[in-house]
Each structure stands twice: as C-alpha cells, then as structure tokens.
Symmetry: C2
Subunit: 360 residues, 2 copies
C-alpha cells in the first residue's frame, strides 16, 4: 500500500534521458535506440512504475466509441435492466473519454438484428458489446469484427464459435441444473417434472437447450429412491409451447392439468415467462406444483408474492450490461487483462429475499 509516487519524470532522470524518450518506449512507438530502450525498461522495472491513469485520461484527448447491440428495452421489459447497467457504466466512464451508442433491435426480428448490427459496424466503433440472440446471423458479424480487429464482448448468450474478447453472463447448463434442484428439493413423492419452453426457436437458441440439458442431468444424478419407497423415479418431460396468445397454448396447458394420470410435481420455465404459466396453476388450485422460472419481472414478482411461483433465478441482467461495458473499457482504456469468461452468479430468489435484488 506504499504510495507509488514514481512518475515518468523519475524514470527519465534515473536513465538520463528525457520524458519523451520514456514515453516512446512505454508505448512502443519506436524511434528509440535499442540500447536506450533496454535501459529505460530496466529502470521502469526497478522503480516498479505504474502509470497514473488519471493523468493519462486527462492528458490525452483520446476518446473511445463503444457500440451496444441489444434488444429494445421498450419492447421487452427484461432488457431494461441491462440497458440501465450499460447506462451506469457509460456514466462512470464518460470522464475517461468513453461514449456509448445504443443499437437496439427488435427481439423477434432477425432482420432488425442484422440491420442494427450492420449500423453498429458501420459506425466503426472502438469496441462492441452485443447480445447475440440470433446464432447463425451473429457469426458473420463476428468474423468481420475479427478481421477488422475490433474487440467485441458477448453478453446474455454465449457463442463459442469465434473467440470474443469476453463473455459476460450465466452458465446456462448450470442454471438448468440448479432449476432441477429447486423444483425437486424436499419433495417426498416421485412424479413428473416439466420443463416448458415458451415461444422459443429452440433450434437457433443454444442456451435454451443447455438449460434443458442441465435440468435433465440434475435428475439423472439424483440417488435412486430409498429401497423401502415404491414408485418410479422422477420423470422429466419437456414441452414446447407456442406464443401465449395462440389458442393452442391454453389448450395444451389445460389438457396437462386435467390429466389425472400424471403426478405433476413441478414446472420449470426456461425463460422469463413463468408468469404465463402461473395463472393456470392458480386457477386449478395446484399449490402442490412447484413453479420455477427466470428473472425479476414485475409479473413474475407478482406471482412470487402470491406463492404461485416458488423460486426465480436471477440472471443478473443489470450486472451483465455493466460488466460487459467495463470489459471493453478495461481492454481499451485501462489496458487490463480481461478474462474471456465471466460467469455471473445464479441468484436464487424467493419472496423473502427478493427486495434486495430489485432496483439495484
């Protein structure tokens, strides 16, 4: 914790050169003899020089343009939180010459995604933060950015094909695994557990399938029921539901809840739309069916308070946006090492601890 009062000027003095020379070796600008270079480097090592980032930001008029490509927060409320996180980061980084421009796209429109990603690319930013909901269409952009060596950071959705600077988000597999625990924990009797996908293009959305894999694996690794207890082990079923406005949505759910041959113990909704299922459980008075979903949306919170939803897994969307921007700033502005993978915690939310997670 000693004060590192060592400045460029100190190094210059110790190496018998001018500050200009030190600056040149510091930034590898060349135009300096190898002999002097080595000497200066040695002095920097000896004095344990650490640049004063504050002075650097002030002295240089360098600015950094960041582009953010994410779904429009006015269309889907989930995206309000990352939006806010990005805004917070932008505010803190403004002093360092960082400006953030948003390129919001329509959640369900591939064309809109492509258009906005294109616009972001055209703006020739210094870095890009993107929620690549569309797998196939994203790859082409990644390739271009790599070719132009524009660093880009992924959040919300992980795509491993081309190496991004970093991914900030959750471990989808493990969150499905955790969801398994939450629907099953404490349930004495065997029965059926449902994983419901609502209005998802499963084929083009990798992380939904990873959630399902995790969910199934949780049950697979459970110890077999005690020898005394009869009955089949847990039965895991997945169901792909259409958009809730589609009549077949209600039809399928009613059929499921009317069926007395299936001992339904719990439902895990793989997206933030648990609130679409909740009213059915409430109407059928199925307090015995555990319901688990994602995200602290207002409607989900409502059913959490009503004891219809038992647990929510918080995807930390606010933090995803905030840390996503900072990953770029760390790379560009602060020249810090950026971890290629930053898993945010899987927060378990109940009625009792909810209040500390909302409105952060």
């Amino acid at each position: 914790m000693e004060k590192s009062a060592v400045r460029i000027k100190d190094i210059a003095a110790k190496a018998n050169v001018s500050v200009g020379t030190v600056d040149r070796v510091l930034h590898n600008r060349g135009r300096v003899s190898e002999k002097v270079r080595q000497k200066v480097l040695r002095m920097m090592e000896e004095l344990d020089y650490e640049p004063n980032l504050i002075a650097r930001a002030l002295g240089s008029n360098r600015t950094y343009q960041l582009a953010v490509v994410q779904p429009d927060h006015l269309i889907d409320p989930y995206w309000q939180a990352p939006w806010d996180g990005i805004g917070k980061a932008a505010k803190e980084l403004k002093q360092y010459g960082v400006t953030v421009t948003m390129y919001p796209y329509e959640l369900t429109e591939v064309a809109s995604f492509v258009a906005q990603a294109e616009a972001a690319t055209q703006s020739a930013p210094d870095g890009i933060l993107i929620a690549p909901l569309f797998y196939r269409e994203s790859l082409a952009f990644f390739a271009r950015w790599q070719a132009e060596s524009i660093p880009y950071v992924l959040f919300n959705t992980y795509i491993a094909e081309l190496p991004a600077l970093s991914y900030v988000g959750q471990d989808s597999y493990q969150s499905g695994f955790l969801a398994g625990k939450l629907v099953q924990f404490g349930q004495a009797e065997p029965g059926t557990y449902l994983i419901a996908h609502i209005a998802e293009d499963i084929a083009n959305s990798l992380h939904v399938t990873q959630k399902e894999r995790g969910f199934r694996d949780y049950f697979a690794q459970l110890p077999a029921p005690a020898p005394g207890a009869p009955g089949a082990p847990a039965n895991v079923v997945s169901i792909a539901l259409p958009d809730p406005t589609d009549p077949s949505f209600a039809r399928q759910l009613n059929r499921l809840l009317d069926d007395e041959t299936v001992q339904l113990r719990g439902i895990f909704v793989s997206t933030s739309k648990a609130y679409e299922i909740a009213p059915y459980l409430q109407a059928y008075h199925r307090e015995d069916v555990r319901l688990v979903g994602y995200d602290l949306l207002e409607k989900n919170i409502h059913f959490l308070h009503e004891n219809v939803i038992d647990f929510l897994i918080n995807q930390n969307p606010h933090e995803q946006g905030y840390q996503g921007v900072f990953a770029l700033a760390d790379q560009l502005v602060f020249k810090k090492e950026v971890p290629p993978l930053k898993y945010l915690p899987l927060d378990i939310i109940t009625k009792e601890n909810l209040r500390y997670y909302v409105g952060e």
Copy 2:
C-alpha cells in the same frame, strides 16, 4: 449521453469572472461578494456544470487517510473476505489519493478492540470503517468521532444508537426470516425447528437476537396447517450452546438427537459455525433434518457438498468491505450523496450455485 464539455473556464467566461472566483463559490470558500456568487451559481445551473473528477484528483494534492477497524483475518477466516474487499477498494482508490490503514483486533477480546479503535482514532484519519462487534464499547468511540466530525461507516453489525454516515451489511431480521423459509420449505409434516446460537454473547450482540426474531416470525406468519392434517403447528425452540470445545456442547447435542419425543425437522445456526453441528447430524444419519447456516467458509462448503448442510446464507463479506470503503470515498472524495443504509442481498447458496460466489 451528450458530452458535457462545460468547464470551469466556460462558467467563468459566461459570468465575466475568473476561474479563481468560480472555484471559490464552487467550494464555498467565501471571499466572494454575494452578488457575484449568485451570478456564478446561476451560470453553473444554466450550463449544467459537472466537475471533472479526474482533473480534480490530479490538480489537488489532497490525500485521504482511511482507518479500518475489523477482526484479524488471520485468526478467523470469515474476515478474510471483507479484508480482500477493502484491499480491492483501496487499490482502485489509490489514484485518487486515498490510503487505507488496517487496525485489526482479536475477535473475542474486548481489550484488543478498544486498543485498536483507540489507535485508529489517534491516527486522526479522514474517515473510519468499522465492524463494531462489541456493542457497548463501540458507543464511546462513535461519540468521539461524532464530536470530532470524523465520518464513520459501520459494516457487518448494525448499531443505531448514534448516526453513522452509513451502514453496509445485511438485514439481520430478514435473514432470520429467510432462514425460517429455508428450513421449513417443502416439509410436509409438522415438527420442531431449532435455532442454535454457538458461543455467542447474546446480550451484547444485537444482530443475533434480530435473527432469532425473524426466524420465529417466519413460523408465526405461516398459514395454519390444512384442516384435514392433524398435529401441532411448527414448534420453534432456541438453544444457546457453549464453545464447541466445551464438553457440554457435545452433551447437549447428543441429548437432543437421542430424544425420540421431539420431531426435529430443521436446525438454523445463527452464525457461521454450522460446520460444528453438521458432524452430529452426519453421525446420527439424520438426513431428514434440514441444516441452514451462514457464510461460505471452507468447512461449511465441505458439508454443503456432503448434503449435510442444505443452504447457506451468504453475508457478502467481500462486498461489505468493498462498499464500506467506497461509502467513505463517495463522501470525502467524490462528494456524492451516501445512503445511510445499504442492505446487501441475502444470497441463498446451495451446492448447485456455490461456485459462482466463492473467490470473487
């Protein structure tokens, strides 16, 4: 997000004064006529001036000495995490002229606490961060700091008597309430729930009693058992255990677990010492008894993996230290509004989401 390129110089020009004058009204240094003062203030308002903190930190050679009084992390491992959080904050703030000095005391020794708090006070710091484990002895220091108008921030333990600048930590009452939910959730049969205090001076430790109150209130607010189901409602019992090295510790636990008349459903340990109870449950093969405690200590994690401990509530110790230091910096360095109460989330930890909370 528009660039606020407005500087002191701009205000000065617009008000027909010099930067020196603007600076004086900005910092209420006086020596400026009321008329000019009003004019400058108006200009600042009009231009929506926001000071450039970077330039401020660079320009002023002001340094801030912060003192931290907390238990020694080498004696009790719990205190490693806040220690690290404080170190992280110190590192980030060094550039702003902030230096942090630690005054570690021995967790169980009142005299040590008093001595270190005294030493911290003697160093005449600009701000103090303290974990005031000893209620009575803390009050005298608070009074002195208030008299000398040294801002101080509390963490870990909340003491309301004298107004601190801020408290950073958990809501003890609510965490007890949450613990109630976690031990009881999903349990079909009525029975007894135990809250165990281990080696705690309950009279001098407010937050332990708050945890118990929350725990009891959880059960009190539960809806009565369904009309059909017989049996008494949940029965909540509290027990004060001595230090685990005391022979009576084992004696009391064994007696409890041997007693077949009590239908023990769950145990809530009010401190981070759940790992002291776990071996007994394991020895008695009481997988049916839910065990809930605090903090991600190595020993607790061990029993979490063994399925003996079911849930841990994370007190976010790392964040407590980090945010505690930043509360002081926000006040002193950045002149920001500091909320008097900053409740950190009550993280629910299971085997399945543990990994994202350790080693942050």
